[in-house]
């Protein structure tokens, strides 16, 4: 079956602009996660959704970052007034989010490489 997909694969924007990054999780996965990975580092947790609601947004760095998942499937990560320090690869993952403990295994998408000039 199809894995996690993310669009766009690359996004170049100018400082101060607004961007939206999209994630389409594996069908039937109720949990969806956003991470940010800087060069040479491990992924850093941003936010996780269980269904439509944000269950934990403690990783969002500031109020310029916001994410939604209105119908419990596709999610959009929104970044306002982008800064050069926002440049990174933004990864989305999904999991079954319930049932046996193995249902919490997270499957990652290919990522969106964001470059802020």
């Amino acid at each position: 079956g199809a894995g996690v997909s993310q669009t766009p694969s690359n996004k170049v924007t100018e400082k101060g602009k607004y961007v939206e990054l999209r994630c389409d999780p594996i069908s039937g996965h109720t949990a969806l996660y956003w991470y940010r990975q800087s060069l040479g580092q491990g992924p850093e947790f941003l936010i996780y959704f269980q269904g439509t609601g944000a269950a934990d947004d403690s990783g969002l760095p500031n109020d310029r970052f916001f994410a939604v998942r209105p119908e419990g499937s596709v999610s959009t990560l929104k970044i306002q007034r982008t800064e050069r320090g926002d440049s990174a690869v933004y990864l989305c993952a999904s999991s079954l989010g319930q049932g046996l403990a193995g249902g919490f295994e997270q499957f990652f998408g290919p990522g969106t490489r964001l470059t802020v000039l």
Binding site: T30, A31, Y33, Y35, G40, Q41, G42, P43, E44, F45, L46, I47, Y48, Q50, A55, D56, G59, L91, A93, S95, G97, Q98, A101, G102, G103, F104, E105, Q106, F107, F108, G109, P110, G111
Partner: protein, 112 residues
């Protein structure tokens, strides 16, 4: 707050040799994950370890978990060039489907 430390961060080894990557974590973690990442690619799930003493093997890779020592290991047996990649361990401090805390990764180069 859960912290995850991996060592070594860089490892160059020859084909045919054995080696172990170590992952220490700071507080109770319900689950411990290992991922592989090739350059420019996303993360591929290798193992999910759920309980103390858990051991899982896939090909030349074997992962284990010691929750009392807060330590997981990834052992590579008779390394081959195709295993060259960056390996990450990650833990989850809460129950359920919480977000993961990743280590910095171990960049592994296997030379012929």
């Amino acid at each position: 707050e859960l912290k995850v430390e991996q060592n070594p961060l860089f490892l160059s080894m020859q084909e045919g040799k054995n080696y172990t990557i170590y992952c220490n974590y700071s507080t109770t973690s319900d689950r411990l994950y290992w991922y592989r990442q090739d350059p420019g690619k996303s993360l591929e799930s290798l193992f999910v370890l759920l309980s103390n003493g858990a051991v899982k093997q896939e090909g030349r890779l074997m992962a284990s978990l010691d929750t009392k020592a807060r330590l997981s290991t990834l052992h590579i047996t008779a390394a081959v060039h195709d295993l060259s990649a960056t390996y990450f361990c990650a833990g989850a401090s809460g129950g359920g489907a919480d977000g993961l805390t990743f280590g910095k990764g171990t960049h592994l180069i296997i030379q012929p």
